[in-house]
Every structure is written in C-alpha cells, then in structure tokens.
Amino acid sequence: MARDLSVYVHLPFCLRKCHYCDFNSRPAAESERARYLAALKLEIQRRAELLGASHIRTIFLGGGTPTIYHGEELAGLLEMLKDTAASPPPAPRMPETGGSAGVRTTNGMGRGGTSRFAGPSPVPPSGRELDRAAPPTAAPRTEVTCEANPETVDVAKLRVLREAGFNRLSVGAQSFDDDELRMLGRGHSAEQTALAVAAAREAGFTNLSLDLIYALPGQTLNSWRQTLLRALELQPDHLSAYGLEICEGTPFHARLQAGEIAPVEEAEHLAMRQVTRELCEAAGLDRYEISNYARPGFECAHNITYWRNEEYLGLGAGAWSYLDGVRSGNMREPREYRAAIEAGESPEEYAEELAPEDALAEALMMGLRMTEGLLLHDLAQAYGAESIEALLQRARPLVEMALVEVGAGRIRLTEAGEELHSEVVMRLT
C-alpha cells in the first residue's frame, strides 16, 4: 500500500525581515535564491523513491515568502515535484493495483479529499496529473498551497501559479491597519492586501486563506475588530489568527526588554480571541483548530496532517519531516543546507526516533489543538489500551474543571481548555 504523505517545501527568503519574525527567513540576492532553488530540486530528486512510492495528499510551499520567486520558478518547482512523485519507484516491490488507492479521505470529519497522486497505479500518467483549473465544485483533490505576501503578487503571477496546479493561496495579511503594518515591519499596506486577494480570485483561486496577527503591543480590542471585519469583507475561505508571540532575537524582543512595548494583558488577549471566534463564525468560518477558521470543507488538509500527527516530508532549509516514527530536521541556514546538498551530503542535522510514550505525548499535544479532538479508539490502537486508560485517569480532574471533554469516543478540549492547551497537555502526559 502506498503511504499517505504530505510534503512541505521551505523557501526561506523574504524581501525584508519583519520586526516580530523568528521564522527561518531572511533577505537574499537573486543569485542566492536561484542556487537555493537548484539545491531544493536536487533534494527532491534524492527523495524520488519515497515520493514515488507515496500517495501525496498535500503540498505546501511555505517560507519565508515563496512568492519572492517568479511564478515560473514556482511552477517549475511544483512540476518537478509532481513528476518525481508520479514516477513509480525503482523499488523491487510490485506496483499495487490502484483500486481504492486513489480515494482517500484526508480528514476524519467526513470532508475528504481524493488525490490523483495515488502513487503507482495502472492509471495512465496523464490521469495522475494535478487537475489544472478545477471548478470550485470539483471533487476534492490534492491540496497544493502557496504562501504569498501581498507585495509580491499580481494577477499574471497568480495565474501562472494557478495554472501550474496550485489550488490554495495563503496570503500574509497580518493586519488591515497601516500603522500596525508599519510597526510590524511589513512591506505592504492594507490596500495592497485587498488588491492581492482580488487578483487571486481573478486568477482562479477558489480556496484562499488570510493570516492575521493580533494582540499587538498597543492594539485595542476595537482596532483588532476593525482588522477582522476588513479581512472578512474579503470573504476568505480560511483564516488563521495568531496572538503575537514576542520571540527572543527579534527587534520586538529588544523593544520589549527596553520597556518600549508591553505585551497585551491576558484579559485583553482573551477578549480578542473571543471576538475573533464570534466574527468568524458570523461570517461562516468555523474554528477547527486553536487559531484556524474555515468555511466547511476548506480546512487546511496540509496542516491537519501535522495536527493528526501523520507523516510528512519536509524539503529545504530547516524543514522538518516525520517519517516512520522519526522526526528529523534539515539545517536551518540556507547556505549550509545548500552546501550540504551540493556536496552530495545529507542536509539533515537532527533526527530522533520517538519512544512510544513520546509519540503519544506528541499525538496528544498536536491532536488536542483540533476542535474535534482525538478518537480514543485510534489512540488505543496506536499506543495500546493501557496507556489510554491511564490517559483517561489523568483526564478526570481536567474533565471536572471543564477543560477537557470525553465523550462519543473522543477526547477534546473545551474552549477554556484550548486557552490552556499547554497546561492541559502537561497534565495529560
């Protein structure tokens, strides 16, 4: 049987570094970006066997700012990934008869996705290609996401992406207040975000997500409400809203240390989350994860892979993989990554095989982020009935405190529990 696999590709470059950002990203000259892309393609080739033998459920180009690249470059990258995945593996194993392999649900909420990337099957190669510009009502397909920053896209570029097979666009809006955008060090205005969204729609993106950040220093509940309303006016199919986390090493952190900015008070932060939930739900976006909202059917299948603790392959600098119970990560610095690849060496700098109890802890930590929680039956099957018994024991006081719910064969967090996710996970593991 072909394994289900999600693929993450990291493109670590940005036009400039935002003031709060601690992702693996930085500015780079065009020549460096090109060499990096070439290295990335080499890594894809090295993974040909795995890719060819897998059923690719989702692809996600993240960054950095993937759209710092030309549309054609990104199209070429996806093309290559597709081709590699479409070639049967050279392994001695007999190809399976396709059958059900082409139809797989990508999430247990009943909103499934089928993939044409069903690994080796008797279906002719052309049939395994990504659908080009499927109409919105088309059958679920492999989700292919590209992250984009407003100032780096226009209709023409987005058309190239859409035609290449990208079918989901995640736009980094962050705020719709120009003063806030400036404070964040973003390179675009609110207006540019709106234009980018319009362009995406025009280019045929029917699955569009916006990223927002709230709990900014000095932000009021009202200014956050305004940002949310303007975001929702653009009718995104999906929305991610994160409370700002001020990380060490960022200019924000330095300003925090210098006492120039102060984090938002807890009560205010919670009020912002509350408003987010209310306004999103009123706009038809249901919360399905701590910080993620979607129109039914538009949940991000790629990220759900992470939260369900399922397997994924990460490609590129600093990208993480979870394969065969091993978590591994590539070198973070793009130059080092590239040097390793170019020298024919492994770019991996970290790998750890998880002990069963650690794997369970991670499954809980990730799974309880989702509103639907985890199926006890699945957990028992994967980690043994006894450890699930023990888990339920530990859950008891949390159930009493109304932080955890156990019922209908599931364990999940209540709304209050989600706000205390770390605390609850500590007590459950």
Binding site: N303, Y306, R327, H421
Partner: protein, 614 residues
C-alpha cells in the same frame, strides 16, 4: 579526599627539629589567587610534579560559593637559603561568620599568616576582617601583593592600601605571582625568617587541638590536629577531653596533599590522626586530644561545642523520599558535627525532619548537599530559633518550630535567645551599622576604637534577627567592610506572637513565623505578598491570608491562569515543543502540593527575607 600513600612506598619522611617548623595560613579575598599560590608553593617544594587542579579546596560546593567550609593542612619541606631543611605546614581556613569558630581554631594552629592581596584589586573588606582575626590570634603577618605579572598594573595603589589599612611598609611586602612563580622563593624565605617556630614541650603529656575533622568511609574520622605538647603515635590510646571518649590511634601523618604516615606527631607539628572514630561528633573542632593514661589535666583553652542556633524543617517534595532523606542526613552528619536532626511531621508537608544548624549559610549548604549529592528534592521551611515559653500552668517548654507554638491563651511568658554581637567596620560606616542594627531590634552596648579608623560596635540583638538577614544587611550597608561575630547571651522575655498563613482558607503550619508583636502585621502583609509572587498561577483562584490569632491582617489573591497556549503550531520542531512542556512539567513536579495548590520550594524561603522592603 586525598589519596592514601602507597604502603610500599619508602617513607622518606625527613624529621626536622621543632625550631625548623613553621605553621601558617594564607588570608586572602576570593579570587586574589590563594589557591594558585598554594599550588605553586606545593610545586616548588616538590610536593607535586606540576600544579594542576587546585588542591586545597576539595568540595565542589565550596568552590562554587567561593568559600572553604573545611580546613585542610598540607606539609611542605623546604630547603632554605641558609641550607637548612624546614617543615612548613600550610593550613587552610574557612571564611564565613557561620564558621567563625572553625576559623578561629585554624588560626590558633598557626604562628603566622600570609596576607595576600591582588595587585589590581587592592585590599578588600573581607581581608581586613580576617587580618584582624589573625592579629587577635597573635600571628606574625607577612603581607604579599600577588599577581604582579598582570600587565599594565602598577603596584602603587595596592602598596598604599596595605599601608593605610594595616600600616605595612613597602619593604615588608613580598611581591609574588602565583601564576609565573615570581617571588615565590622570596615568600618561602620570608615565612622561614619571619614566622616564629613553635616553642613547645614535647615531653609534657599530650595536648593536641583538633582544628578540623573529616569523615572517610574507609578509615573513619581523620582529625586534623595541631600538637601543642607531648607526642602521639599509632598504638597510643587517646582521650577526647570534652567527652572523655577513648580511641586507639591507628595512623599519624600529614598531607602532602596525599596522606603520608609518620611514626609520630610531636609538639609543634600539624598533621592527622585516625583512630577508628565513627563520626565527627566524636572528634569536635576545638577539642583537645590527650593520652588516655597520665593525660593532661587541663584542655587547651577555647573549646566550644558547636551549637545549632537555627532550626528549620526539611521535607522531601515527594513523601516517598522520606527514608532516603533520613539516610542522607545520617551520612552527612558523620562529617558534620554541628548538624542536628529529629523526625517531625507537618500537616502541610508530611513527614520530614527538624534540623538544627550553625547559621543560615550552614543550613543552605546542607540543603544543597542533600539535593545535589543525594539527589533529593526538598522543601525547607523558614528558619527559626529556639524559644522558651512558660505556660500559664507554670510548666516550661522549648519550641524550635513556630507551628508548635502553644495557643496564646496558654502562654505566660515567651523568651527569645539574644546574642552579643561584635561588629567591626571602618569609622565611616558606623552610622549604617547603627541603622541596620536598630532596625532589627538591636540594643546598643558600646563602641571601641581598634586601630587606625577601625571601630568595634557592640550590640545585643535577637538571634532571630541575625539568622534572617542581619549579616547580609550589614555587608550591603557597609559595602562589605563590616565583620560580625557573635555569642549567645542568654534569653530575654519579649512580646512575641505567631503569624499564620492560610492558603485557600487552610492554615499552613510550615509557613508560620514568630515575630515581635510590633512587626507582626507588617510581616504578615509582606509574607502574603511574597507568597503571591512566589506561587505560580493555578487553574483556580488561590487566596492567601495572614492572621494573628483569629484576626486576618492581610489578604490577597492569585488570579487563576486562563491562557497558556502556543497559538501557532505546525509541523516544525514538534519534538522540541514537547520537550519544552516536559521541562515545565518537571518544574511542577518539584513543587510541593499543599491541598491542591502547587507551591514552589522557594516560596517557603521567600517568607524569610523580608527586611529589604519593610
């Protein structure tokens, strides 16, 4: 612990006449290069091939805290320029008021003291204090300016300070570098020429003073002694003059720093004795060893039994570790004559021990050793002194645990221990010392001028104030220049009361303190506030109250934690995030559950240091 000399190694132990013996110590501020210089002396005298690790301090803890808890003594053989062979005994000294008595015994074992000053740091406060003690012990002082290899530093400043502080003239001062070895020869010559030889009677009945003792699992106690009269050799039966206990000497010798046996130790010598002694409680610092038969009539002067002055409860965070804690205390006390402990139970903390210590530092050291060497997680309750209480029915009790204070209506009189403290400082700090002492219920007794601009202030103070933070407060008020020693001076009646703390309505016995009624309310408030700071937010609201009798004097609440979530979490670094949570969880595990409130270990101590903000 020094390694034992190989039995088959030929003992080329040169005996030198008493007039060629020199007993000395080195007085120095931390980091001024004492260890390096000591190693260099050892090297020059051929004790070690090459100075490697610093040899005099042995315990990790000591090194970390920059203090020496235990003394040790090393013997050097030095062939001086006059062609004679000298036996130099270098005695190490501890350096904190808790161990002031041990210091005084170490100094008593010497005739000379090398006073070491870093050329770029100059004379530090602690050095002044210790020099004063050395002068009191009538030691010959050899002033040394060290680290003269340091580039671009002129010794003028240090020379001037030596003159100002002690009146040492440049021509008396030896200039050395422990690092390069410059001046080490001159220093050895100065020791030989200036430190007087012991002049004692080797034919009188044995009198040897124990200035340190250390327990070793293989040979029992190793007593470091200075022989003042007579001689002692393996096979002799000896008697501890304080207890009358008798032992058969199995070995006599010295440290080189390896243990080297000698046929006998005699008047003037410094060295060790082992005699199958099972714990240091039978080999007390300051005690006099004599021979069992026809022994000395009188012990050497100055013996003082180590007396615990401060008590606190020690409890395992995990009740299952009770036995392990008991074992650990049993073992530690083999090497710590001052440590006392008895079982005790606390409603809040479960089973544990009431332990007695010389002072706060001693308490902290023991606690740290238990945690580090025996891998125990402990909760220590706030330290207390011993109160004497006369009950209304005329009976009399001693209480060293605030939790066990009798109800107020049963108390006729409470007496608390007081000390007479002798604080020495330069004239310019007198005002600060008076303020710090007055703030802590001190009663001024008198003031004396010592020499130069040094002043000695005498105060009577409640011991309870001393154990809290008196010395720390003194040091910070005088920028380190004050020295303190004190002696118990009996008990006096005081208007004391118990302040109780409640967490979510339940009194927590381990958090109770005794204090003067005048300060009770403000202390209650400060403690409540400190607890609020020390206890992390819980999933529910926590109420903290302080009460005196049935009257609540302070009340505060810790709002429940409502948000603790990583909002952005995808496929990167999942394992690292899990490990982060695990570490946080580990931190929680080390907290003590009181009811269902997780209370960190520090919270119990946080109620202690109050005066800073009072």
């Amino acid at each position: 612990m020094a390694t034992e000399a190989k039995a088959d190694r030929p003992k080329v132990v040169q005996r030198v006449p008493q007039e060629n013996v020199r007993n000395f110590c080195i007085v120095a501020h931390i980091d001024h290069g004492k260890s390096t210089l000591a190693d260099r002396l050892l090297e020059v005298c051929g004790n070690v091939e090459e100075a490697g690790e610093q040899m005099l301090d042995t315990m990790d803890l000591e090194r970390e805290r920059g203090i020496t808890i235990k003394s040790s003594a090393v013997r050097l053989l030095y062939e001086a320029d006059d062609g004679e062979l000298y036996q130099l005994n270098l005695i190490d000294t501890p350096g904190h008021v808790d161990f002031a008595y041990e210091v005084s015994r170490s100094l008593q074992a010497c005739e000379g003291a090398v006073v070491l000053v870093d050329v770029s740091q100059g004379v530090e406060a602690q050095t002044v204090a210790n020099v004063y003690l050395a002068l009191e012990a009538e030691l010959e002082i050899i002033p040394v300016i060290n680290k003269i290899d340091v580039p671009n530093v002129e010794p003028e400043m240090a020379l001037k300070e030596m003159d100002d502080a002690f009146g040492f003239h440049p021509d008396e001062i030896v200039m050395t570098s422990g690092k390069s070895g410059v001046g080490v020869h001159e220093l050895l010559e100065a020791i030989v020429k200036r430190v007087p030889a012991p002049d004692e009677d080797a034919d009188a009945p044995l009198r040897a003073m124990i200035f340190d003792s250390e327990f070793d699992v293989h040979q029992g106690v190793i007593a470091y002694v200075r022989v003042f009269e007579g001689r002692v050799r393996p096979g002799d039966e000896i008697r501890m003059m304080s207890s009358g206990k008798r032992f058969d000497v199995s070995r006599t010798g010295f440290f080189s720093p390896a243990m080297v046996d000698v046929e006998e130790l005699r008047a003037g010598d410094v060295g060790y004795i082992t005699a199958g002694i099972k714990g240091v409680k039978d080999s007390r610092v300051g005690d006099t060893i004599t021979c069992a038969k026809k022994g000395a009539e009188e012990p050497l002067p100055g013996y003082r039994e180590a007396q615990p002055m401060v008590f606190c409860g020690l409890y395992p965070v995990d009740n299952a570790d009770y036995e392990a804690l008991k074992d650990a205390l049993d073992r530690l006390s083999l090497n710590d004559a001052a440590l006392k402990y008895d079982r005790e139970t606390s409603a809040a903390l479960g089973f544990g021990f009431r332990c007695g210590f010389l002072g706060l530092l001693h308490m902290e050291i023991v606690q740290e050793r238990l945690e580090r060497e025996y891998d125990l997680d402990l909760v220590a309750t706030a330290p207390s002194v011993v109160y004497r209480i006369t009950l209304t029915d005329g009976t009399f009790v001693e209480v060293d645990n605030p939790a066990q204070f009798p109800p107020r209506e049963l108390i006729e009189v409470i007496e608390e221990p007081v000390v007479e403290a002798n604080i020495m400082c330069p004239q310019r700090y007198v005002g600060q010392v008076i303020k710090v002492s007055d703030d802590r219920r001190g009663a001024y007794l008198k003031q004396e001028y010592i020499w130069g601009d040094r002043v000695a202030l005498h105060y009577r103070l409640p011991l309870a104030e001393i154990v809290v933070d008196y010395f720390d407060a003194l040091k910070s008020a005088t920028r380190g220049y004050a020295t303190l020693d004190y002696e118990l001076a009996g008990y006096v009646p005081e208007d004391l009361t118990k302040v109780e703390l409640m967490i979510n309505g339940d009194p927590v016995d381990a958090l109770a303190i005794i204090c003067h009624r005048q300060f009770a309310e403000s202390r209650g408030r400060v403690i409540a506030r400190k607890l609020k700071e020390a206890i992390p937010r819980q999933l529910f609201e926590v109420r903290i109250q302080a009460s005196i009798g049935s009257r609540v004097v302070a009340s505060t609440r810790i709002a429940p934690l409502r948000r603790n979530v990583t909002e952005k979490c995808y496929g990167g670094d999942v394992t690292r995030k899990r490990k982060l949570l695990e570490r946080q969880k580990e931190g929680k595990r080390r907290m003590k559950a009181i009811g269902n409130v997780q209370v960190p270990q520090e919270a119990f101590m946080s109620i202690l240091r109050l005066n800073e903000e009072d």
